[in-house]
Symmetry: C2
Subunit: 705 residues, 2 copies
Amino acid sequence: MTDIIASAKTLRPMLEPRAVAVLGASDDPTKIGGVPLRYLRDYGFAGKVYAVNPTRDTVQGMPSYKSLAEIDGPVDMAIMSVPAKLAIETAEAAAKKGVKALCTFTSGFSEVGEEGRRMQRRLADIARESGMRILGPNCLGYFNARTKLYATFSTSIDHGQPRVGNVGLVSQSGAFGSHCFVLGRERGLGYSACITTGNEVDITVAESLAYLAMDDETEVLACYMEGCKDGEQFIQALALAYERGKPVVIQKVGRSEVGTEAAASHTASLTGADKVYDAVFERYNAFRAQTPSELIDIAYMLSGMRRSGKLPGGNKVAVATISGGAGVMMADAGEEAGLDLAPLPEKTQVYLKELVPFAGTRNPVDFTAQVYNDFSVVTKNFDAIFRDGGYDAVIGFFSSLLYSERMSQKVLDALLPVRKAFPDRIFALSVIGPEKNRRRFEEAGFLLLDDPAKAMQTIAATLEIGRGFARGRRTTPVVAKAPCLQRRPYNEIEAKALLAKAGVPALPERLAASADDAVKAAAEIGYPVVLKIVSADILHKSDAGGVKLNLANDDAVRRAYDAILSACTAAYPKAKIDGVLVGKMISGGVEAILGVQRDPVFGPIVMFGLGGIFTEIMKDVTFRLAPFDEAEALEMIRSIKGFPLLDGARGRKKCDQAALAKALANLSVFAAANRDVLASIDINPVVVLPEGEGVAALDAVILTV
Amino acid sequence: MTDIIASAKTLRPMLEPRAVAVLGASDDPTKIGGVPLRYLRDYGFAGKVYAVNPTRDTVQGMPSYKSLAEIDGPVDMAIMSVPAKLAIETAEAAAKKGVKALCTFTSGFSEVGEEGRRMQRRLADIARESGMRILGPNCLGYFNARTKLYATFSTSIDHGQPRVGNVGLVSQSGAFGSHCFVLGRERGLGYSACITTGNEVDITVAESLAYLAMDDETEVLACYMEGCKDGEQFIQALALAYERGKPVVIQKVGRSEVGTEAAASHTASLTGADKVYDAVFERYNAFRAQTPSELIDIAYMLSGMRRSGKLPGGNKVAVATISGGAGVMMADAGEEAGLDLAPLPEKTQVYLKELVPFAGTRNPVDFTAQVYNDFSVVTKNFDAIFRDGGYDAVIGFFSSLLYSERMSQKVLDALLPVRKAFPDRIFALSVIGPEKNRRRFEEAGFLLLDDPAKAMQTIAATLEIGRGFARGRRTTPVVAKAPCLQRRPYNEIEAKALLAKAGVPALPERLAASADDAVKAAAEIGYPVVLKIVSADILHKSDAGGVKLNLANDDAVRRAYDAILSACTAAYPKAKIDGVLVGKMISGGVEAILGVQRDPVFGPIVMFGLGGIFTEIMKDVTFRLAPFDEAEALEMIRSIKGFPLLDGARGRKKCDQAALAKALANLSVFAAANRDVLASIDINPVVVLPEGEGVAALDAVILTV
């Protein structure tokens, strides 16, 4: 974490410069080199601003410097808006001048072919050699809302400056970042800063997130990303945000096949498998949004919550509405989003019935439009719900009521005492109306969401993030003691032996070199036994006739041994055969699959799923970053759809989930300890026996790099 | 269908009255009885308007009639806004006056207890006896946008009259209907009419939909419902809309457990199982929206499409963007929504590369912000995409570009020729900006969606509806020839025999009354065989020791017979035993479950799923309304997640899907033919054998009412 804090601190001159120069400043205030100059001059930035343009004496009425060198004081940050062919010399000049941060609009780098890539490498060298941080190239710039530092050529500032607030937005894509920014602005979101990273020759999304995580003005991090190349740095940034109690919501694109293809052609970089990001986000409590509006809605909720205090740590939500139908719909959406719509206590329900005789009082509470006859009933309803129900969040549905000034005021007056009495809970309203009236509610501490069904999803996301903080930091198990993986082939017996040493148990087994040997081994292990060919050259053992199950006596073992050898020799005449494995035959239990894959960006990722069709047809699997502890392993186990099968469904015995969790966690530690050597592990199947009887790996393949 | 057309026609006086009276008209233009009078007077309704209030001489400056009877001409429609205690006499007076339609705001009926229910039954009697149609009670009224007939006390009209358009909105809930109406109005939706049905003492959602389906001004039907009591009428309404080519999008609430509970307490009516609605919607091509904003977005798309022509019948979509990131995200969302993002032809990609050298050209097309240097490139890009790609829909992402007047105009000029050249395809834009600029694009025939990811879902929904029309009406098989089910218990042999007659094949089997009998039967059937106890009193045959599988010879059969009888007699001493079934033993194939449930509203519903965990843990099942044909049965089979198992996954043989479809369709016909007697059928398992080998029901339970 020291690394990311140190490198994030170097972004400070970029976000908080005292003197700024625009390199390639244009006299035309609508051109790329003209827009930021105009913003800096007109919108109240308090620092020094210099225009640099070698061909002019003045730019937009300001004196123009022929070069950076001509400027007589220090320049903390320079905006570079020069043609690509001048970019390198301009950047060199900036470094020489002692500029601390260079914001590079210029495009025509890695996105346009080999020459561009070469130039981009040169830019990277300049950054590394000089210590000058470079944003971009090919980015839309950034802004600091508080200081009115709009270092961007996006015209979105022209049609509305952002409200100053506590949301920091980081986007890899410029156009998309500005789209999200505008969506948020229309939504009434208050921003601290917004950074677009473009080609990321130097400054990354991770560093930007880390900077904002340390920034006192920023309390919520919203992010759009296509992928990252430095997994460790990204993880550190998320971990830092978590430590600082800053919730993170991210839209990461490229999760579909077509999308991944498009992302590859767009970013031309190795950015890790998409499913691995889910594992990373899960570990560090970052919430993955699926659409820009979801990103903005969740950021909006978090922003409001953070203004008023902590996030709640539970999952209990109450709905109160003037419309029974809306209540039903919100209950549907809430249940599907995993919320706990626990009923109100009986005595509270009795009380609510006294207030409105024909109200629905369970939860959702339908206090009906009757409340319009006596607004004190609104107060009493919400007060009772908050007071008696122990809900983490309460949402009221008031349809399009805010369109009426009069009603708007009455409802606000009725709800304010409740808001004040329970300042630490989420108090949301699903209501539509003009911005002016919405703002009055927002300023009073209410969170406003228009669509009642989406509102439930947004609340669910917020509470999930809150629970992630309440749960506390995940412990990372020590990996030092894990057994060591050599860079060499492992046959099945060796693989299982090594994994058993690592804490993934297998059954007793022996390697036999002859039929007699096999009979002797079987006697030691105890009947019934299974025989399997052992050869790194024979992958499909069963197909080759290399497996014989359920052998009950010496004679059967002897015949099986001979049959296996002759079948395998016939099928694979050139295979190097290590011998025949004699193992304990067990029946019963549920088959699971444990696996490890090495992700190019994030290292070893552990997979868990049930055997056969569950994994192969239903794709019912889950992934986590290695290493993790048993508690997290248990979360994995419980998260798959087929979990009931391990939990005693259909009259089965409950399986030994504790042993399975232990094996999974041990596997993750082994994988992490050997991350440099390990390519993949496939333990398929692992039999999960009834409670107390443990688990056993029946087959295992380990591949090294 | 004749029925629904006839009854829908009787709604005409309600929607197109020449003379309207407000009963209980209030002098206060903000009160429930005052608002509609003010609307009728001030907003341009061209018909006659009478105010009726026995206690006043004038109401809002209009002469007040003491009673309806005093009015000297005919009154087609009356709005009733009187206290509950006056409702019955007022309705009677209206019927006597010859009023054709009564719109009843009055609340205090079935929603408030026994006395209210009694009054509501009386209202229903008045409607039936007089032929006067009654809307409500406890409804928010309705409007006809074209004639400015605002028969509602919703103040939502005050803050903005609806644009006149082609969307008809029907809502059971008043508050929620008005919420949807306002959402749509903010979205720029044009309405033909909007009807809220409240307690539905007489006029139902179904009749309202049917009326609008026949209304020439209405081209798109949007609906919010909690449930219906007359399944046949609802089905007829959807079928009518389909016949008339009017797309229907419905939000039906109550799909979750909490939601269903809330709906039950809210509507206090038997409204059918929620999953059955999915089957109904599927059959009649109604699209089920999950949130109000989805409902409105889809209605918006359909509305725009219907203005410009037919809905496309395919699923091919192209995305073209100024932002690579947005393209990736839209590809993700599109693939997840099931869209076919087929790549552009090679030669078109070459052409697009010539236009913008570093563009992404596959699909999504990323023509980059470079196009702003030469807007003719925008024209050329979209023209090539439409011309060469054969896409049903094309969507362009332009971020927040519409905020700039100048850019807005340039893009509009660039896109217009393409819109004109391909008028029959969906041309959507994901873009944000002020309403004025959006409207200019909309008037030019573009469909505007703000969130790019949601836009893909909306397009997918629209295309799904289009394909439903392109596919043509589903054929309903003739049910007359199906065998007849008696109202009596059926044991397993009888059930399978009857189902076999209905076209759900079983294996050869005999009922044996003695061990000798069983041996004889086995010889006829051919070894190996299975023996099973036959008794309507023994439900769990295996648990009782009543099943013996895989018997290979006479001796085994004899022993099994005796073992079964003694085990079952021990376990169920009082059971009436019909004998022992001797059946053919088969192995292989995939196990499926076929079932029928009788829904209280919609009658027999057929279920299909795979056996065991697929149905019980993964809930991987699908439902359709009986009867249906083999083509629809095949759709069912293909729609489950486990379908690959029937289609040759994991090295299996491909299963006999045709035979399975035939059995499913036959079952549906049998169920429909016996709808009055049938309670449920459970055929579990049905073994689906390899292609050409058919299917066989291995067990079946039929229950009658």
